[in-house]
Every structure is written in C-alpha cells, then in structure tokens.
Symmetry: C2
Subunit: 141 residues, 2 copies
DNA sequence: TTGTAAACGAAAATCATTTTCATTTAGAAT
DNA sequence: ATTCTAAATGAAAATGATTTTCGTTTACAA
C-alpha cells in the first residue's frame, strides 16, 4: 500500500507527519510482517542518531488508536505490531516462518457461536481468533 | 471437581503436596473463574503469615506444566490462570461478568481452516480461539 | 528418625512499557 | 519568509509484572 494512505490518516487525526513516523511507516510498509517495538527501534537507529524507545512505543500506540496498526500477542507475552487498516471485525493469519500477517476477512463465527451457546446455554458476544501456519510464499519455497 | 484429582497429578509429577499448593488448588477449585497471581497472593495471605508472590508464580507455572492449569491473556497484557485439565485442543468461553471460564470442546476449525487456506493459499496449522460473553448463570440473573 | 531434594521467603534483578519534564519541531497563522 | 504554539521528542526515571538468586525450611522417602 502507498504511504500516502497513512499520511492522510495522520492528517485526519491531527498527527504531525514527522520523520520518525514516516520512517516507521516506511519500514512497516516494506514488509507485511509483525514487528516488536525493539526491532523497529533498532531499525530506526540506523537512520536517526537520536531516537528513543519511548518514541517508538508512543507512535505505535497512536497508530493503533487511529486504526492503521494492529497488534498481536505471542507466547512470550510481548506485543507485536503490524500495519492493518481494516476497521470491521476480522482475524489474522500469521506465518510461523516469515512472520507475515494476513487479514482473514471471513470466519463463520455464527456456526461457532451457535455451537458454544447450545453447549453452554450462554450468550457469545465477542471472539478472538488467531491462526498460525505457513503462508503461500513459504509453502512454495 | 475433587481436589484428589489434582493431588494425584501432583504425585504423578513428583511435586510435593505442600500447604501453599493445596490452598491454591482449594481456592481455584472453589470457583471456576480465572485469577491473577496477585489475586491469589492476596487470598493466600489471609491464611499464611509468610507467603511470597514468587511462590504463587512458581506454583502456577508448575501447575500449567503438569496440565492442571491453563492461562489466558486479557487486554491488560497480564496472565490469568484457571483450573483446566483437558489435554486435547479446545477453547475457552469467558464470562465477562463473573469471570467464569468454560471449556468448549467443539469448534469446527476444519471449516475455518478450509476457508483460510482457500483465501490465502496457505496452510493453517494451529489456531487460538477465545470467546467472551455471558454465561448461563449471569444470563439468568 | 534422618537425609535429601524440593519448596519457599526475601530481596534483588529483569525487562517490557509508561511517565515526566525540559527541549525541539511541524505546520498553521501572520 | 517569520513567528507562534501545540504536538512531538529524548533522556532519565518510574512502574509493574514476572523471574532469579540464594540461604533456609520442609515434605516425604528410606
């Protein structure tokens, strides 16, 4: 996706188009993988002599708030971030080899919901589904 | 469930039946809800004059390793623990009102898997599903 | 009853994340 | 182009969950 899309979102939310923000968007947009704040920090340090880790955390949080970034939690209990502009409910497929994140627009939750509600006589309201496996590219190679 | 079941598991894994472990099992078994290590610590302090938070963490980890406890992560990025002895793949329904956790033994992952694999031409290997809502008891009251 | 590995408490360490505050900067207004 | 101001940033410290270390205690097998 073009960075312009993200710049528009920044403007829409009155977030300044700063060099650090641009670089984070550039790095994250260059691959579809997820990043830890530390990884992004390491990459930004190659470009900026002065760049603090809190800045990276702040920017990621803001990006999440304005809906251009989403996060996942792995087993290590750390948060990882990736670009994602989808607003409505959806799920993520994560490649265990290349770390690529793909959005899954369809999930037949109604089926699961029905099954759960019957089993437990409860009301299922929200659900969180995360799928891991091998992506197309990693399957082929 | 009777505590004896858990005592047998302790013995099977050569974990001693200590007062702290017994009390944690008693507390967790008294409700089917999830607990934070801090919550459990607070409850144990009522019974023991000397009880360290690391002990609670250690016991919970060991219980998870021997398969009598499972954990969930909430939005606050903290880990919560609850009694669960199911060995095979399953999912959890969490009541947002009373914090009760129920195991969901059925989930038609094949359907989801097929859909994801077709959409992304990838191979789905594992998945994590967590459902939130209102349990039977909270619905009725 | 005794020996020993396991369990524990206390204190400190770790590590991700957040806050504070003084300084700098993007971008709007002039 | 210059000025102004709120937003952004860096540095350092704080926070808070979780883990480690290590010396002492305890469960339980012999």
């Amino acid at each position: 996706m073009s960075l312009d899309h993200y710049f528009i979102q920044l403007a829409n939310h009155k977030l300044k188009k700063t060099p650090k923000r641009i670089e984070i968007l550039r790095v994250m947009n260059s691959k579809n993988t997820y990043f830890s704040p530390q990884e992004l920090w390491a990459m930004l340090k190659e470009k900026f002599q002065k760049i603090g880790l809190p800045t990276v955390y702040r920017i990621l949080q803001q990006f999440q708030e304005i809906g251009i970034v989403a996060s996942i939690q792995k087993e290590d209990n750390q948060l990882y971030y990736f670009l994602c502009s989808i607003k409505h409910s959806h799920h993520h497929f994560i490649c265990r080899k290349c770390k690529k994140v793909s959005c899954v627009e369809y999930c037949d939750f109604e089926q699961i919901k029905k099954s759960v509600e019957e089993q437990l006589q409860s009301k299922a309201e929200t659900h969180f589904l995360q799928i891991e496996g091998l992506c197309k590219d990693c399957l082929e190679s």
